[in-house]
Amino acid sequence: MNEAVIECENLTHFYGKRKIYENLNFTVPKGRIMGLLGKNGTGKTTTINILMGYLQPRGRECRIFGENILNMSPEKRKRIALLLENHVQYTFMNIEQIEKYYGAFYPNWNKDAYYELMAKLKVAPKQLISRMSCGQRSQVALGLILAQNADLLVLDDFSIGLDPGYRRLFIEYLEDYTKSEDKTVFMTSHIIQDLDGLVDDCIVMDYGKILLQKPISELKKNFKTFTFEVADQSVKLPNDPEFYHPGFVKGLGEINTFKEAEYVKKVLDDHSITYTNFKRKTITLEDAFVGLTGKY
């Protein structure tokens, strides 16, 4: 396994008395693109804030490039590019000013990469970022990240507020950049389809815990949704520990699991549930996510 770029051990955090998570453990290996998935309020942005040192966890620690994030040196921060939620940037600057500002801090600053992307924007060089659309601002933020040429990219909900065109542009640039330069990426997104084909591994978070951490390919291959017809829909589907959110959807019984069809059938038989038309449903990454975390 590659060396770990991000390591979190027994991470625990509370907001007041509300537990966000307890004893959270995960690592992000070098050269991998890790997607942090979870419903609203499961602690995705909290995790990014902890990783970036803007939130002190109540328990244990996180390390990036082997250094505790609470006392991260400027040398280590130089190797990390950060995209904040909503593509927050210095909107009082224009695209030239912001490039000049950040360029002074990073020795490997790639001005051309930034201006290549800016050429796609139909804006004057002196136009303030505050007067740009959300999509244009996202491109400025992405351009700055590409120019920084960092080893680790931390992207918090990069696709929020973007129309399909800008979302696609963002993903394509990011994909080319990360694959060709062997970068490590840690990202969150509400739009699960965006991560399909982009991320290598995913962490799926539920309230207070990690549901799983797996390569996306493995999740898509092994996670299954079975549907079947049941005459009596008042029957309660078995709450087997291997099943995720069993229930009825549009009149069909639905069970999400990593187990094979035989296992599901056996559990149904053991609970004396009579079913017909038992099928495995073809699912997308988003279906797998919803299956794991539940609809509501």
């Binding site: 040192g53 803007y54 400027p74």
Partner: protein, 224 residues
């Protein structure tokens, strides 16, 4: 890097800087005109009388609260964009020591205010020295100095309040700052602060620590 930090802070504050600069310089010129008017149309003796007999920071006391206001405005202009959408995360993320970054930003603000204050107070004292003795100029300068120090203090304190992450902390900070700033306006007599001004300046400089405290609280993720 220091140049880049200055560049960013200047972009934020340049318009306000020039407005404050023009306002305070115009006010100084207005006071100069008042003195000039008294000299020309009443008599220079009257000006002397005003300074020697009335002895209450006369003329300059018209701009008593202007430096205070300038400090508050500049702090808002410089630090509200930083806390809006928590942009300060970007500022603290660049590869530069975080404490030094914050102090650099504050120093740039203090430098801008000092420039404004020196020019406006300099104009006044330079003109005054052509009319009255150096002792009177010095006395008038000493009467005005606490107000200008209060301007720097208000800037530092309001900056710290802006960065403070909780509203509870901001309210407490605002109230204690108001009480502290009141000290600078207890008396308008020229010699009222002769012995305490150095101590007050030291306390004002220590207020930089409050900015660092706000930053630490922000980094801890404190919220209401």
């Amino acid at each position: 890097m220091n140049k880049a930090i200055f560049f960013k802070e200047w972009i934020k504050t340049k318009r306000t800087f020039w407005i404050l600069f023009a306002t305070m310089v115009c006010f100084s010129i207005y006071i100069i005109f008042q003195i000039f008017h008294t000299c020309e149309f009443v008599s220079p003796t009257r000006v002397w009388n005003n300074f020697i007999i009335d002895d209450k920071g006369v003329y300059i006391n018209q701009m008593q609260f202007l430096p205070l206001l300038a400090g508050i405005i500049l702090a808002f202009v410089q630090f509200v964009p930083e806390i809006t959408l928590k942009r300060i995360k970007l500022t603290l993320h660049v590869p530069y020591p975080q404490k030094r970054m914050l102090l650099m930003m504050a120093l740039i603000g203090v430098l801008e205010l000092t420039t404004i204050f020196v020019v406006s107070l300099g104009l006044y004292t330079a003109y005054l020295s052509t009319i009255v003795s150096h002792e009177v100029v010095f006395s008038s300068f000493m009467a005005a100095l606490p107000w200008f120090v209060a301007g720097i203090a208000s800037y530092i304190l309001v900056s710290a309040i802006c960065i403070e992450p909780t509203w509870r902390g901001r309210v407490i900070g605002g109230l204690t700052s108001a009480i502290f700033l009141r000290i600078f306006f207890v008396s308008v007599l020229p010699k009222a602060y002769s012995y305490s001004i150095v101590g007050l300046i030291i306390v004002v400089l220590l207020c930089f620590l409050l900015m660092l405290r706000s930053m630490f609280r922000f980094k801890q993720g404190l919220q209401d």
